[in-house]
């Protein structure tokens, strides 16, 4: 379970370029729930994920994972609980290392790394089996450098990497955005299968309204660092992409109204 209480993040405080990326976000996500996160550019979606991974320290507020306050944990310590797939296929893998070396790195996430060989027969067999499930034929190319794979193939491998170790939370940041439509569908299906198989608590950021409604069981809309819409279950099932866009516009419209009130 994730509990986010009154989360604030301010970049460059007190300067001309001060940015209040998160402004008192409250969110509670029960274990095993799959939440899709939408919102316009700069709404604070990536910042929220960065706070959960420990990459960005909150200016105010608390983050609890399964009741433990992890607000002050550094990213390396959080990695035992949190796995992530980046938007940029290049960001989540090491292109200079082979596929199996990347997998081995992920297979040791959050554990002590010693002098034992990183790749051994049992592990290779496990990797082969997991990668063959992708159906991309990559299981015969485990010794290839990661840099040789296409963006979609890399994202697929990144997803496998994220689920190699038992993890509590999976964070996906527009992880299909850089892919062509066919690969997008493939990675989306893979995401659903993996999340269901491992029953992961998942946060997925997306700009695609259809994807936001198709995947998971709850959708949260961020706007200016706060959650402005939170729909789940039946309420959500009744929504179509167009409704979401309309809600979106409504939120921003209210904003305009209040601005004009202020100005008048």
């Amino acid at each position: 379970m994730i509990r986010i209480e009154n989360l604030h993040v301010t970049f460059n405080p007190g300067t001309a370029i001060e940015t209040r990326a998160l402004r008192g976000l409250d969110l509670e996500i029960p274990a095993g729930q799959f939440v899709t996160v939408i919102g316009s550019n700069g709404a604070g979606k990536t910042t929220l994920l960065n706070c959960l991974t420990g990459e960005v320290p909150p200016t105010e507020g608390r983050i609890l994972i399964d009741g433990t306050d992890v607000t002050l944990w550094p990213a390396t310590r959080r990695s035992a609980l949190v796995a992530r797939v980046f938007q940029d296929p290049l960001a989540g893998t090491c292109e200079a290392l082979t596929i199996e070396e990347n997998l081995a790195l992920a297979a040791a996430r959050g554990t002590r790394r010693g002098l034992a060989s990183a790749l051994h027969a049992a592990r290779r067999a496990e990797f082969r089996e997991k990668i063959s499930r992708l159906g991309l034929g990559l299981e015969d190319r485990l010794g290839d450098r990661m840099g040789l794979l296409s963006g979609g193939q890399r994202q697929a491998v990144s997803l496998v990497m994220a689920t190699l170790r038992p993890t509590k939370i999976l964070l996906l940041d527009e992880h299909t955005a850089a892919l062509d439509p066919r690969m997008q569908d493939f990675v989306q299906r893979l995401t659903r299968e993996l999340v269901e198989a491992e029953r992961l608590t998942t946060l997925m950021v997306t700009h695609a309204m259809r994807q936001a409604l198709e995947l998971g069981g709850r959708t949260v809309m961020l706007h200016e660092g706060r959650a402005v819409l939170d729909v789940a279950d039946e309420e959500r099932a009744g929504l179509g992409p167009a409704d979401l866009v309309a809600l979106f516009a409504e939120v921003r419209g209210q904003e305009l109204d209040s601005d004009s009130l202020l100005l008048s």
Partner: protein
């Protein structure tokens, strides 16, 4: 080229093979352009020569020299990680400081140990002519170090270190303490270079304050030659390539110096090396990650 020149090139190639391994670890594995080696090579020589003259056991003296090199690497890593001083600058600061430190250690610019016992002494009774013995010992040492390094780099910890250099953000997301693996890598790198310096002093019978000049370029040359000859392959091949690159580079230099028609003198070595590295860096399409690293001044 006669036998003496050939064996001499082999010996020096193996000694500088240790430098090449150190440079490989910092530049290629950690992505940390490190010039500390110009100071840690003579540091190894200075420590070992001073201790041997003072009557210490040569093996113990060599071990202390290795530790001193590791400490130098830690200082550079500390300056970079703690105070965010640019890699190159941090390493230049350590290198310059080491010049004074080395003079302090030796008490004078040159310490002779030609008549003292060295790590080679125990093997002299084996009936092998001194001519063959030194290259053999040098090769044995560098081969063992290279094997250990290769084994380290395929371990869980070594793989984490490679990820630290290749993609630090991803490394942290995988729970790798990148600062720690940088410290360890820089210590190992300069420890290997100092071992090279300690071996150099014992093979040649002296330590001198000037022997460090250009060490980094010689190390880079060896890495570049190795990579040019042994393309592709995994990390183990890359480690072996450093060692072979160093030997091949020295043999090529010996050949050039021996060919009278070229008219080169031994003192032209640094110029030739600098030219070689420059050419390697500016050659179009050269598959040379060092190129990206150096021409952009590192990340």
């Amino acid at each position: 080229m006669n036998l003496v020149a050939f064996l001499g090139a082999l010996e020096i190639g193996c000694v500088y093979g240790l430098v090449a391994l150190g440079v490989f670890l910092s530049f290629r594995v950690l992505n940390f352009p490190d010039l500390t080696v110009d100071g840690s090579f003579p540091l190894g020589a200075a420590v070992v020569a001073t201790l041997i003259v003072a009557g210490a056991d040569p093996y113990l003296a060599t071990a202390v020299a290795v530790l001193a090199g590791a400490a130098a690497g830690l200082v550079t890593a500390f300056l970079n990680l703690r105070f965010r001083i640019l890699h190159l600058l941090a390493s230049i600061l350590t290198m310059i400081a080491l010049y004074s430190v080395n003079l302090r250690i030796m008490g004078r610019p040159n310490v002779a140990i030609i008549a003292e016992p060295t790590v080679i002494t125990p093997f002299e009774g084996l009936g092998l002519a001194g001519l063959y013995l030194k290259p053999l010992v040098a090769f044995a040492v560098v081969a063992i170090v290279a094997a250990l390094l290769a084994r380290f780099l395929v371990s869980e910890y070594g793989l984490a270190m490679r990820a630290t250099g290749a993609n630090p953000r991803m490394a942290r997301a995988q729970g790798i303490a990148t600062a720690q693996s940088t410290y360890v890598g820089m210590a190992l790198s300069n420890a290997m270079v100092a071992l090279g310096g300690a071996l150099f002093a014992q093979m040649n019978g002296f330590a001198d304050i000037t022997i460090g000049t250009g060490t980094i370029v010689v190390g880079l040359a060896a890495v570049i030659v190795g990579e040019a000859i042994f393309r592709g392959g995994g990390i183990v091949v890359a480690v072996a390539a450093c060692l072979l690159g160093s030997v091949i580079y020295r043999l090529a230099v010996a050949l050039a110096l021996n060919a009278d028609f070229i008219g080169l003198k031994a003192s032209d070595l640094n110029l030739v090396t600098a030219l070689l590295v420059t050419v390697a860096l500016i050659l179009p399409g050269a598959r040379n990650p060092l190129k990206a690293l150096l021409t952009r001044g590192g990340k």
